[in-house]
Homo-oligomer: 251 residues x 2
């Protein structure tokens, strides 16, 4: 089987924002779905791992867009494994238009956890290290890595939001892309009239569940760059726990 | 061209809830997308109407589900026009599994508005009444009509929520399905462990936009039936305006 998986998606009109461009949250879910199809077809998907009490957990995600697909655009998402170590794999993405040119690229880092202990487990132990058979070290991905961000003393926007039924996905915790959607929602719709999203980065630190209350914080670090920080309330001692943080770069 | 349009969709795993069933919001968007494809292909879609300052506006929607598609299920959504009058069309849906059996059905009522005056305009004036050529009065749809609901004196749940960038779709106002998602989120995730949604109804009264604050109210009318009411704040005089209301029936 080919190292690269190729999956067709359509920018469905009711998945598009007010400007007729695919909502980046929907694009992010397409990437997660493509990752799932690729790993299933190659024997290390959730269907194989679930009954063995293991699950892939997204640790980092970067998406770079030169152009955002518009309503009715067909796209092919290519995905391949760039590298695998004991506790992390790097999976890359190319988001291609019907004529073959790239809308953009993505890069992600995944851990494999034991769903009972919630601890990382050895990726190279799956099917005697079969993940290694699919590593494509030749193909480079232009999307850069997720960089470190530090919160400012004052945030330009802050919002508290309780996580609900529709925030939770098939893994039982808040969907990775929902954090991105909620963070993008910290900026007013008018911002998006002038500023298309060109790059996003997110690092996932802890899981949140339905009923958790998140605090979403946004810092502006340049005219077109924002950093975001997401924490959840800890019931026990009224402290907060980091859940995710990342970066948006607009055009 | 056939009166019925048929469109393929997949219950993508990251569009599924914690129980592995397609989120009804995503199913609702599939219905809206199918309606859009059907009307475009027959010459009365948004692409034809937009430049003529006209748009379809969803007025009522009912979805009845005997079974909810599960992750990786392929489905075909069939849609056809049941009837057209001067100011309203009725469009029906069948949601079919790969083996042809029905997951469920839908029924919707649409108005055509002038996007400048926001007033209803004559549907039968489009292309000399060409909508009439596609009416399939023979085919019945088992999904019942949207019934009337009245708010109780006390609500069992109430939530205020500001509408954001990602709530707004290609029409420039809050996406029809987002109201349903936000209303479903009034019930805790634990409710959904025991109670699959079997029927939903929604009537749309007014449009909301990014920046509007909604009040979402839920009434329990029987063990498995809830009614919801959504209002938006009016800035001018601090009063409220009805935006949508409807009903959920669970199994």
């Amino acid at each position: 089987m080919d190292k690269t998986g190729r999956y067709q998606f359509l920018a469905e009109p009711f998945h598009c924002d007010f400007s007729g461009h695919l909502l980046v949250g929907h694009l992010g879910n397409h990437l997660l779905n493509a990752a799932d199809y690729h790993s299933r077809e190659r024997g290390f998907g959730m269907d194989y791992l679930g009954p063995r009490h293991k699950a892939w957990v997204l640790s980092r995600l970067a998406i770079e867009l030169e152009e955002t697909p518009r309503a009715y655009d067909e796209m092919t998402i290519e995905t391949w494994v760039e590298g695998a170590m004991r506790y992390f794999t790097t999976r890359d993405f190319a988001i291609l238009a019907a004529d073959g040119h790239a809308y953009g690229h993505g890069r992600s880092v995944w851990a494999l956890i034991d769903t009972e202990s919630r601890q990382p487990t050895d990726i190279l132990a799956i099917r005697d290290g079969s993940v290694a058979d699919y590593i494509d070290a030749e193909r480079s991905c232009p999307a850069g890595r997720v960089s470190r961000v530090r919160p400012a003393a004052d945030h330009c926007r802050e919002r508290r939001l309780e996580m609900q039924y529709s925030d939770v996905d098939v893994n039982g915790h808040v969907n990775s892309v929902k954090y991105i959607e909620h963070a993008l929602d910290l900026l007013p719709l008018d911002w998006y009239r002038q500023h298309p999203l060109r790059r996003l980065e997110v690092a996932y630190v802890a899981e949140a569940h339905a009923g958790d209350t998140l605090t979403l914080m946004l810092d502006q670090v340049s005219e077109t760059e924002y950093h975001f920080f997401i924490q959840k309330d800890k019931e026990k001692d009224k402290s907060c726990v980091d859940v995710a943080h990342g970066k948006f770069v607009f055009g």
